[in-house]
Amino acid sequence: MPQENKPSSVPPKKDKQEARRDFLKQSSAVMALALAPPLVLKAAQHDEAIAAVFEKMPVNLEINGKKMQLSVEPRVTLLDLLREQLALTGTKKGCDHGQCGACTVHVNGQRINSCLTLAVMQEGKKITTIEGLSNGDQLHPVQEAFIRHDGFQCGYCTPGQIMSAVACLHEGHAGSPEQIREFMSGNICRCGAYDNIVNAIMDVKNGGQTA
């Protein structure tokens, strides 16, 4: 169900006992399947509820500082979880194949393409998306620099560019315009705002505001 992992419906953090009970509930469904596969499979075809339990796995993530216990199909990418189930639509899909960078987020502080990782692989990790970058109303210096330098046109690649830029600065890969161009080349901008993106990053670098 697309809507069920909306943050509002995320259950409050359960104690260990409860979590284990949930796990047992799920494993017993798996167990039932092992015992009578044809029967359960047939049921699954007709009974959404059984199919849903069978297809899902628990995963704990900390997203933009919020701890979340989620239940997702193992085939769901981190990108699709964020966008379709958690309504964090700032992170964009441009290719789904790790070729464009539109889906860049931070996992434990490192930039990754969220389309190239399954949500269940990030168990226990801290994830930051564009929605979690600013400090309340106070924009991150890179966000401000992108506005000042017009580091975008349509804005579609922008969340990915900004997440990448923040990481690029942290990594120490923003030493010169040339180095920025290399280390920002995983993020395509079809509107061609590259010159402005480089200037924005250089500006933050020179202002020493890499926080």
Partner: protein, 739 residues
């Protein structure tokens, strides 16, 4: 007089939304109970569907339906046409397959993953027929569409008699717009004849119109939302079959349905720049005066539509040449229909024309820039009219100076730097400066804020920002109190964002509605405020959100004026369009591109070192966003010149590089520092702002500047884009090459 807002580098009004992830593009909307769709696409390139088996797909968890020509709800509008007429691809009308990747079914499920998986379970059998996807092999099928008749002035093929001639063939491969945002739509029938759409479009009103025609429901029953568009470059100028498929699926299951297509499908479902072959022949006197140009172009189209664009347009008026003739033909192939891609046909044509001029200049031993100036058209030779404004010569001069043109050694392969061959090249571009018809509503609230509404689109240039600046100048209201709202079909009419005309068209309407609003406020003051009794609207000064009497003795703020009269708001609507001036003048924007390239002598790799682009686009409303538009066009031009080429495997009629890893759009490291200059002089006739268009000329001509620079660096002329290293590999064996 206060400093005007137009002409300033104002930050974008929607910048904050764009850097925080708050900007909502079509796929970011999540209506309650939304379902997800995935397409099943044809694996053959010509023939018919024999059967579709959906049993397995329908049994998969969460699947709501599989919709195809076998069970799709009827599209009433299809009946107005006969199958087989050239009416575009009428999705799910019958079982015909015209091209590879054509959608044959749409699967709807309650999660995206389930829809995608179920789509893989749909089994389609085909009756395959021979397909044709190769333009060269299909030249015998070339034909002329009535929209694009032969053109001639003076003598046909006069170039042949000239003392110095040049004639050559130039080809451009199929290129794909590939905006970052994937295409798709969310469709929701809220009642059997009421439809809500979240669309990726360059024009909400034209979507509304198309849907109205196809589904025969009242216009006001169709609501189209499209506030943010993640780039389009022309591909969102029409409603595509994939959108109709989604609307049909939503109709069938009676829930909101979202489709987002894949990057691979972006190559087959939403148009492309057609591959083309152009022959340019030109002749000149020994001292460089052009005597004849012949331009013959062939480009591809689909079996079910004739797509035409301005490939031969520029040749007709760019140079002062007495004898010009053009021909433009189409070759229908088993491909989907092309669509205008940034710079559209003019970008294609300018590559040939501006390369040919360069080639001729070497034969004449005249500097290529000089040759252009020598043949500069002071008036439009095609229409025999004066230009409304033309500062091309100034643009040439600015560009030449900034790139250091005079210090180049004119001989090919004469310059080196750090072991690299160095080349300088230049070219020019032009595109019509249009002005359409648009309506804008202005709502002044009693808190002093002004909201402007129009069904315009913004695919990235910064429309709302420019409109706020224009409104601020007319009304004297500070820009932070002005909001411009677009992308809603419920707003007053505006045309599609295309052809570089938005600022001209919608900006004029903004200017007009703001003047009308001031008049309304003035009349209110004159009739209700004693101190204003004796004055007239023309005498009142409008400043800082106030009305001021001519003697500056009495002021009243907009807030006070409205509050006094207990008016919550004043609303004015105005429609605007150009008049007779279009018949008296030829209106064009012009651009000049200069490129300095390095070519590696052993590998043939081309790296662009420096770019200077100059635009004569009238008065620039926002120098910051205008510069971004220019560098964006240049980046597109770099792709066109050096990397972009969609490759078909003609055995299957299928693309082999249909993804971002294999179809190379320029990345950050491919782009050099780019200097942009504007002549920035008002066009006196086109519109109240004096602004001409910018979006197309940013790219038009650019590829020729690069290929001309590559020739200067290497002595090798590449006439087939893109200029990939393999085309320069014989570089080593052409040590002494010259023209």
């Amino acid at each position: 007089m206060k400093k005007p807002q137009t002409g300033q580098p104002m930050d974008r009004v929607d910048g904050r939304l764009k850097v925080t992830g708050g900007a909502k593009y079509f796929a970011d909307h999540q209506p309650a109970d939304m379902q997800f769709a995935a397409l099943v696409c044809s694996t053959i390139s010509c023939g018919a569907i024999a059967s579709i088996s959906t049993t397995k797909a329908l049994r998969a968890p969460g699947v709501a339906d599989v919709v195809s020509h076998l069970n799709a709800p009827p599209v009433p509008g299809y009946k107005k046409t006969n199958p087989g007429d050239k009416n575009g691809l009428q999705i799910f009308r019958d079982n015909r397959i015209y091209s590879n990747g054509q959608p044959v079914a749409i699967v709807v499920a309650n999660t995206m993953e389930r829809a995608v998986y179920a789509a893989s379970l749909v089994e389609v059998q085909y009756n395959q027929e021979t397909h044709y996807t190769n333009m060269e092999a299909g030249m015998d099928k070339a034909f002329q569409n009535n929209r694009m008749k032969d053109y001639s002035r003076g003598e046909i093929n006069a170039w042949q008699k000239a003392p110095v001639t040049h004639s050559a063939q130039y080809t451009i491969p199929l290129e794909v717009h590939n905006p970052m945002e994937l295409a798709g739509i969310i469709a929701h029938w809220t009642s059997p004849d009421t439809l809500t759409l979240y669309a990726k479009t360059q024009g909400v009103k034209s979507v509304q119109e198309t849907i109205q025609e196809l589904f025969e429901i009242p216009e006001q029953n169709i609501t189209v939302h499209s506030r943010f568009v993640g780039g389009a470059f022309g591909m969102a100028l029409r409603v595509w079959p994939l959108e109709i498929a989604t609307i049909l699926a939503a109709k069938k299951i009676r829930k909101p349905v979202k489709l987002v297509i894949t990057r691979e499908q972006m190559f087959t479902l939403v148009g492309y720049r057609p591959n083309s072959s152009q022959k340019i022949s030109m002749g000149a006197t020994a001292d460089g005066k052009l005597t004849g140009i012949t331009h013959e172009a062939v480009a591809i189209t689909s079996p079910y539509e004739d797509f035409t664009e301005g490939i031969v347009a520029m040749t007709k008026f760019m140079y002062d040449c007495p004898n010009v003739n053009t021909r433009y033909q189409l070759v229908p192939l088993n491909m989907s229909t092309p669509i205008w891609m940034r710079g559209p046909g003019e970008a294609t044509g300018s590559f040939a024309l501006e390369s040919a001029i360069d080639e001729l200049s070497y034969k004449l031993k005249i500097d290529p820039l000089q040759l252009r100036i020598l043949n500069h058209a002071d008036t439009d030779p095609e229409r025999n009219l004066p230009f409304s404004s033309k500062y091309l010569k100034e643009a040439y001069q600015i560009g030449a100076e900034k790139i250091g043109w005079s210090s180049r050694n004119p001989a090919p392969r004469s310059m080196q730097e750090n072991g690299m061959l160095v080349g300088y090249g230049m070219s020019s571009g032009t595109f019509g400066a249009y002005r359409g018809k648009a309506t804008v509503s202005a709502i002044l609230k009693s808190d002093g804020t002004l909201t402007l509404q129009s069904a315009a689109a913004d695919i990235g240039p910064g429309t709302a920002t420019a409109m706020v600046q224009i409104a601020a100048d007319v009304t004297g209201i500070s820009p932070d109190k002005i909001t411009f709202m677009l992308g809603e079909s419920t707003f007053p009419y505006a045309p599609e964002q295309g052809g570089s005309a938005t600022v001209s068209t919608v900006g004029s309407a903004v200017s007009d509605v703001c003047h009308a609003l001031l008049k309304e406020l003035a009349n209110l003051a004159i009739s209700q405020v004693p101190a204003f009794k004796q004055t007239t609207p023309e005498l009142i000064i409008y400043e800082d959100g106030q009305l001021i009497t001519a003697d500056r003795q009495t002021k009243i703020t907009h807030e006070a004026l409205l509050q006094q009269q207990k008016l919550p708001e004043v609303k004015v609507t105005a429609t605007s369009q150009g008049g007779e001036e279009r018949k008296k003048y030829s209106m064009y924007s012009f651009s000049v591109h200069f490129a300095k390239v390095h070519v590696h002598p052993a590998t043939g790799v081309v790296r662009i070192q420096h770019i200077v682009s100059v635009a004569d686009a009238g008065a620039i409303v926002n120098t910051k966003t205008a510069r971004s538009q220019m560098i964006g066009g240049v980046v597109g031009g770099i792709g066109m010149a050096l990397t972009e080429e969609a490759i078909l495997d003609h055995r299957f009629g299928r693309f082999v590089n249909n993804n971002y890893a294999d179809y190379h759009v320029p990345v950050n490291a491919d782009t050099p520092p780019t200097d942009v200059y504007f002549v920035n002089k008002k066009d006196p006739y086109i519109n109240p702002m004096g602004s001409k268009g910018l979006g197309e000329i940013a790219l038009i001509g650019f590829a020729a500047a690069v290929s001309n620079a590559v020739f200067h660096a290497t002595g090798i002329r590449v006439r087939d884009l893109p200029i990939t290293p393999d085309k320069l590999l014989h570089i080593v064996s052409t040590e002494n090459a010259t023209a």
